[in-house]
Amino acid sequence: MKLWKSWVIASKDFSVFRKKKSIIYSVIIIPLLMSIILPFIISSSGLKSGSITIGEFTALLNAFSFFFVILAASLTTVIASYSLLGEKVEKSIEPLLATPTTDEEILLGKSFAAFLPPIASIYVGLVIFMVLIDKLTYSSLGYFYYPNWNIAIIILLVAPLAAILSVELGVILSSRVNDVRAAQQLGQLVIIPFFGIYILGEIGYISLGINSMLLISAMLLVIDVILFYISTITFRREEIITKWK
């Protein structure tokens, strides 16, 4: 496998994305807005007035940081659907498959293209989020809440695994639908379980601490492995040419 070919494919997709305002807006603006809005919501949560305890406050922070996992899953779906289905809709998949490039190189290139921009954007958003949280809560907490192990697990495990799940789901959806928007809308269903976890964390039903994050990571890893197997079966030259609708 020639990794540089996957990178050529990903770079081409990045060039295409740069011309698509809808992709630029969703990938850059949404994480940026979240990274600014969430800290200000938290800062007005009542810690200073003493209406919530420090324990409740940190639980709220953990829940809010999990919001970036939802973004990772959601934004990756948007790009994965465009990256794969766009080729299909614009009929550019056949000349691409006719090049001396393996299915694995193409799939990896498409995965890079769908995975890297949202993850990079979310990482930037998380850095802004952490800096603002620390700035706004230092006087109340007496210490910098971030960085901590919880956010490290989100950055290094949960968000990337959630994004990989979305890429794989994008591959599978691209083989079944004909319309980029339909794929993106269907792909958004991926956020429902993440949103459920977020809500449960927000209302204090579950703790979104380190143990929960590790458990979620393990579950995502298992799901990713299963979906990887299905997506590699789906992404075969002959399947794409003859069976992708």
Binding site: K12, E90, S92, E94, P95, L96, A98, P100, R237
Partner: protein, 303 residues
């Protein structure tokens, strides 16, 4: 260069290509003629290693299409222009070609030179930085052909390259194919444009799931009915018909003083026919050869 033996492709219970056998020499332009659904695109896709065969054998420049290692080598030495051009509409003509040049493993210098060469040759060099989406169908088709040639392939597969093009663009594409022929490229052309096949192809295969006939355009035309001679007379009478009967000709049709006569060897038989008519008192107004067209051949095999 292309050797196909009993090649078959089935999609579940449907046979798309049924036991096709043909051979294309290096530098030859081979035309695949057939109606929609005849299996032309499926054959090209099998030969381009995009889909697998069900049975039979095919080799491209000695490489087996069914061998995984060979399939990458085949894709390196072929260029494919599919029936849908499939350009990246947001990217410029130059960037489209550069992307494919990289995937075909051309070095930077080769990419630069070939992109300039083909864009100049196709009259698009001045528009190299224009997004492909802004081009007309004909221009897009030209870029698609340049894309297939960027790595200087030995064999070029063209799937309906002039379909949906206006006459001027079609002519330009045909002339470009003839230019490539001069460069000794082996060209496999799928078309249902009989005129195009006749003008461009050295050899033609008529496909209707099965390969119904192969040969040069002339060979195929002659296979329909051989030669016919048409003689327009001022007046056809019994004496003339009796004189022609004595020549033991295969078939004579008289239609409004126009005789259509089947001949085996026109150069030898035509003078004898004309002499017999004149001796019988006939006044010959003109003599012409009636040749079957590729259309006659096509209709004979696909109906």
């Amino acid at each position: 260069m292309i050797d196909v033996e009993n090649l078959t492709k089935k999609f579940d219970d449907v046979t798309a290509v049924d036991g096709v056998t043909f051979h294309v020499d290096e530098g030859e332009v081979f035309g695949f003629l057939g109606p929609n659904g005849a299996g032309k695109t499926t054959t090209v896709r099998m030969l381009s290693c995009l889909i697998s065969k069900t049975s039979g054998d095919a080799r491209i420049a000695g490489y087996d299409i069914d061998n995984t290692a060979d399939s990458l080598k085949i894709r390196k030495i072929i260029g494919l222009v599919p029936d849908n051009v499939g350009l990246y509409e947001e990217l410029s003509a130059y960037k489209n070609l550069d992307f494919y040049g990289k995937l075909y493993e051309c070095n930077k210098t080769q990419r630069k030179e070939n992109i300039e060469h083909f864009l100049r040759m196709l009259g698009l060099w001045d528009k190299r930085d224009v997004a492909a989406g802004a081009f007309s169908k004909g221009m897009k088709q030209k870029i698609a052909i340049a894309r297939a040639l960027i790595h200087e392939p030995k064999i070029l597969f063209l799937d309906e390259p002039t379909v949906n093009l206006d006459p001027e663009s079609s002519k330009m594409v045909r002339e470009f194919i003839l230019e490539l022929k001069k460069e000794n490229k082996t060209i496999f052309l799928n078309t249902h444009n009989l005129d195009e096949a006749q003008k461009i192809c050295d050899k033609i295969g008529i496909l209707n799931t099965k390969l119904m006939a192969t040969g040069s355009p002339k060979e195929l035309e002659e296979s329909v009915w051989g030669s016919k001679t048409v003689i327009q007379l001022e007046q056809v009478n019994e004496m003339i018909l009796d004189a022609l009967d004595k020549l033991s000709l295969n078939s004579i049709i008289n239609d409004d003083n126009k005789l259509t006569i089947d001949v085996v060897n026109p150069e030898k038989e035509n003078p004898a026919i004309v002499a017999a008519i004149v001796r019988a008192g006939g006044h010959v107004q003109y003599v012409t050869e009636l040749s079957p067209t590729l259309e006659d051949v096509y209709l004979k095999f696909v109906r």
